[in-house]
Amino acid sequence: MFNYELYTLEEFLEDNWFREWVFNPTPTTESFWNEWIRHHPEKQLLTDQARAMLRALEMPHQSISKTEIAEAVDAAFAKIHQKPGQAVYTLPAWSFRWVAAAILFLTGLGGYVLFYAHTQQTVEPLIATMSVPSGELMKWTNHTQKPERITLSDGSKVLLSPSSSLSYPSEFSVHERKIYLKGNAFFEITRDPAKPFFVITNKLITKVLGTSFWVMVNPDSIVSRVVVRTGKVSVYKTEDLGKTNKKPGGILLLPNQQAVFLDETNQLTKSIVAEPIQIHKPVRNQQMQYSEAPASQIFGDLAQAYGIQIVYDEEILKDCHITATLGNEPLFETLKLLCNSIHASYEVMDTQIVIYSKGCNEVK
């Protein structure tokens, strides 16, 4: 027998008898190896590592049953017999299968559907554009340490971060504007509802009509973001647009909102940006000076100024009054101060801020 006592990790990985035990255990292999490990307990660690390594490479476990295989083989040969006697390579049925790659288009309601000319399922496009970039893309990579400005043919401006790159056509197509990003960039897109603007990265696709926002998708980073300053933006997982006959779900972002995509969970979630900016001037009380004003009024004004929903219980807060002048502090600082003054607290839930309070009935 082989001198397994002297085996290294690599040798176990390559040993057919060991591999059989791991991948195709039989009573023979089981008894042999369990016995052997019992007699060589100091080798347990090593054999465990070898097993773990093989499992890691194997995942997902081979759960293909003989029946499944037989079915697949039958299906293949059934197809072959549909065209008897052909010794020439022509499979017309297949050529329609993945026609023209993905075609992205917009339905009237602002949603979208991915169109595949699939022989089984077809979804009728309302607007179909086949925009395969046929080598007419310009590519710009920022090799400097500072952000670089790029102006696109429609007047849109891109601020490209260092070490990022942008591919874009010299002239946009008729129905839409598409550019391809690797890394981080800030976009200021000129408004053109007739030509939606797509920022395509390998993980997320962002669609806008006219707005300013950040897209941050880096291949080495497990977190990707789209952050909206102004306007409205729709964000989709790039892989969702690659699936057939399934309407991809995207999320709609408003100003001060962001979409965060985590590689690990493969989830796209919406939340408030870390540092919201004021996007509207307050309708009344431009100076944001309050004197014994109802707390609810101040929260209402803040919500309006930042475009973020602030949720609170009107009843509970009805006796709460605050005197304050709000300056240029960051929103969350302001909230903290306000809440402290009425013994309340706040919590960010997705895209809303919720105020918790027990009310202001006691004399302070």
């Binding site: 990790l9 995942m59 081979q62 072959i80 499979l91 299968r97």
Partner: protein, 190 residues
């Protein structure tokens, strides 16, 4: 068996497909989680083989030949079905990934399943080509020449790549594996 299939023996091709189906599926699953694409590509591969049987060479390694064809096919397919323009960013190798979900390991001791998940995670940190070469060598058990064929690189590149992959792996693995890996690397380089 290859010879029979080339000589119009359908049953021979069936046997080949049956024999390699699981292995091809496992390889394809590293490229995409989409089971439909996997099934379609494999099916297409064999249908193609049948139609082109009179023009096929006799490969040194049927396994390597099938893996090579499947890889080419998968990449072609994935570039199309994934949102088209990803091909602008992605090179061939960026598709290869190990699964890291422990529930995909059936029938295994929990401590090993956990270790395996850790290892898979570490493996995914390696550059894509290194991942693939480790897989081809230690899971598919291919020889250097076969690996070179499947990955479409020269034999020398394959050797270099494997050396790099193993040393990168050594750095990536948790320290309790360090010693044993050190031992095997020393032997390997010799």
């Amino acid at each position: 068996m290859w010879q029979s299939f080339i000589a119009d023996d359908e049953a021979a091709l069936r046997k080949i497909m049956e024999g390699f189906y699981a292995t091809l599926t496992n390889y394809a699953s590293k490229y995409t989680k989409d089971k439909e694409i996997v099934k379609d590509c494999i099916q297409e591969l064999f249908i193609d083989l049948w139609y082109k049987r009179h023009q096929l060479p006799i490969p040194d390694s049927v396994k390597a030949y099938l893996l090579t064809s499947l890889r080419r096919r998968l990449l072609r397919q994935l570039r199309k079905s994934v949102f088209l323009t990803q091909s602008i960013f992605l090179t061939d190798d960026e598709f290869f990934q190990f699964e890291t979900s422990p529930d995909l390991i059936l029938i295994e001791r929990e401590s090993i399943a956990r270790q395996a998940t850790q290892i898979a995670h570490q493996l995914n940190q390696l550059p894509q080509r290194q991942r693939e070469i480790i897989y081809l060598k230690y899971y598919q058990n291919l020889k250097r020449d076969e690996i070179a064929e499947v990955m479409g690189i020269t034999k020398q590149s394959a050797s270099n790549l494997l050396q790099n992959a193993l040393s990168a792996l050594r750095q990536a693995l948790p320290s309790n594996l360090y010693f044993s890996l050190l031992v095997f690397l020393t032997l390997y380089i010799n």
